[in-house]
Subunit: 432 residues, 2 copies
């Protein structure tokens, strides 16, 4: 089929009639599918149930250095869990790691909140400044943007490229504007595009010369080991050592968790940074909590053993969710290939596929899908303030439905993309 924009008014009207009919047919089926949530299915979670046997009432509850995980102490995590999380983050030094509770998002929130009330390594608390800005590569993760918005931090959208954020813009803002205090990054298999930062991008991050002494890179390495393929895997440079080499050891905060390795909400999360940043975080932790759940840390280490154990586990996940991704991609390729009404990513890992519709179509497509029983992530959610300036990006989350349901949902999705695109082209023609 030829590109829609090369079609005549008559061809578009005839196509619309046909698509309308198809849509009514699908609507009649009463679908109830969800492509909005980056969450695992019960069957995927079943693969990790061995974790529940890792400790029992006969277990030795001591860490490798002899500390009783059942009691107070070891504020910064048990040594074996620190090592495991350090390895997940690509081999950062163990002494640069703190293992927290169950959610890396909570660490990020806490880090921003602490900067608001107490500043960063002695800088002015952000709540006393007239203006604080964060750079937000977008499309990106809505929960990052929700944190900065909650604290009244002004968000500046940075376009993404296939190599990562537009570094020319990042360098300009960071070096010129002392109000720019941070940037949200998902450097590997980014949410939602699945982009992994190139070596040059990481090195340019490490070489940033911030106008603000308290500027930090918020490096959310959420999908560090979440490959979809055995033979095609992204690798990114280890940011802590790159920052150190570049003479800016304190410039990065790295976050990771096992939320999509073990159980969402019942995993363990970690923070990695320079010696000075780690010391500051610990200083607050001693006042903030009596420590994190060391038993759950021990449970994870006893079950996964080490990074090789985790990687073997993630290969099982990949084998399970890859067909879901491929089902969606097959439909997109077959149904939308050559029509020039949308572009999509082919991620090698992570939890999402990113779809860019023609400008001004995303909201209408999501609404149309909803009308026929398929829930998508809200259009705009991947941009700061929930506003996609082009109304173009749609996040597809293929992990929760089955591969068959995914194919069915994708069929409806491409139908809605076609329909909304045709309607927009017709409206444009009328406007001419």
């Amino acid at each position: 089929m030829k590109p829609y924009k090369e079609m005549s008014r008559e061809e578009l009207l005839s196509l619309k009639a046909e698509l309308d009919k198809q849509f009514e047919d699908v609507k009649g089926k009463g679908l109830a599918l969800d492509m909005s949530r980056g969450k695992p299915t019960p069957a995927q979670l079943d693969m990790t149930m061995g974790l529940m046997d890792a400790l029992n009432s006969e277990s030795d509850m001591k860490t490798e250095n002899g500390v009783d995980t059942r009691n107070y102490g070891l504020m910064d995590g048990i040594p074996e869990a620190k090592r495991l999380m350090a390895d997940i983050m690509g081999g950062v030094p163990v002494e640069n790691v703190i293992v927290y509770g169950n959610a890396s998002l909570a660490i990020m929130y806490d880090t921003v909140s602490r900067s608001m009330t107490h500043g960063v390594l002695g800088s002015t608390p952000w709540c006393r400044l007239d203006k604080v800005r964060f750079l937000c590569p977008a499309p990106g993760y809505d929960r990052h943007f929700a944190i900065t918005q909650l604290f009244g931090i002004e968000m500046i959208t940075i376009p993404m490229t296939p190599e990562g954020p537009d570094m020319d813009l990042v360098e300009k803002y960071v070096s010129e504007d002392p109000a720019v205090k941070g940037i949200w990054c998902v450097p590997k298999y980014s949410n939602p595009q699945g982009i992994s930062y190139s070596d040059e991008t990481v090195r340019r991050f490490a070489a940033l010369k911030p106008a603000a002494e308290d500027f930090r890179i918020y490096w959310d390495n959420a999908y560090a080991i979440h490959h979809l393929y055995d033979d095609k895997q992204a690798q990114i440079l280890e940011i802590l050592s790159e920052c150190e080499k570049a003479g800016h050891p304190d410039m990065v905060y790295e976050f990771a968790s096992t939320s999509k390795v073990s159980f969402p909400g019942a995993g363990i999360a970690a923070f990695a940074s320079s010696k000075a940043n780690i010391a500051e975080a610990k200083r607050f932790m001693t006042i903030q909590t009596i420590g994190h759940d060391k038993i759950n840390q021990l449970r994870h280490v006893r079950y996964f053993k080490n990074i090789e154990g985790i990687q073997a586990h993630m290969r099982k996940h990949a084998a399970f969710i890859r067909p879901k991704f491929e089902a969606v991609l097959a439909v997109l390729d077959k149904e939308l290939g050559g029509l020039e009404i949308g572009e999509w990513t082919r991620p090698l890992g992570g939890y999402f596929i990113s779809f860019d519709a023609m400008e001004g179509c995303a909201k209408a497509i999501v609404a149309k899908c909803k009308e026929a029983g398929v829930t998508m992530t809200g259009a705009g959610a991947t941009f700061p303030y929930g506003k996609d300036p082009k109304d173009s990006n749609i996040r597809i989350a293929p992990t929760y439905p089955t591969a068959e349901e995914m194919a069915e949902a994708a069929d409806l999705f491409v139908l809605c993309v076609k329909l909304v695109s045709v309607e927009q082209l017709l409206a444009k023609q009328k406007g001419l």
Copy 2:
């Protein structure tokens, strides 16, 4: 023996010589005992190891309302854990409860931090105010005071009475000073005195008429079910319903945890408050975290079942730690009774005994104990800014050593009390 202050200089000097000799003897024994930490022993923790069998790889991981605890969702806690924590807090309504992660201290910190950055139910964020004050009944819990100190909140010491804080003073400050935004309370078996607030005290709390709309009572019900005796148990009025009856439903935040029920650091913690306060806390939670560890909540409910199960468990704890308390009290009674150089509490629950030495003696006594190998909580730690104006209060934590070790440590303690008291009396006589 007669009261020390009735002794002549000669008697005191002779006594001192004898005590000095005893002290040198004990010092020679090379003790290494710790009465500083309110923590359970491994043997006490062993009583809860069944918790580790409550879930295994064959378990049904769904809540009573069918939610998979292994996945995202149920931000405010699983229903059965909410009910359990509601019952622990004396029967507050389940809908007024949020179950959090592993530490109630973290909830308290978070609540203060949120008030700093965002105010309370729409009030001015505290970080924008010139002055924020908290009332601190003392002796009290050092970690409470550490939180308010960290945020630059001015702390005002309120003396404790056997019925709870001096309510005349509390009423005066709260009703007259709009900068007073909170008060730290441990209403039952208070740390360190073991005092439980009388009904009149609780009712006067509920009837407070704060000058500040955003004044809150921080009601840390840490020892709600931590009785030492079956037949002598304190009961306190349920504060949420008292506040509601008095027309101030939003005035109280209640906190509790199972840190000293199951495992310190691997338990579950809860927050209870009015509908409006709960709604506000949830609004922030949706941005702050992906949820708390629901599997650990489920584990606790499957193991303890209900409040009766918890109470039966706590009776076992009581039988285990009561002899330690009694060992200390027996030594204090026998060795210090009638000497008028100290007073101590006889708690019916909680984790501490509070000792008041003669004014100006606490630091010296703690130092003397340390010299002979017995670690006490630092003198002053129970007061705001770590400064006991009378240098009199010493917190005794009897739970960690065995009853035999406790007796040994208490023997040294009373020896040090005598010695320091004699020295002070001699110095006073000299000064006259």
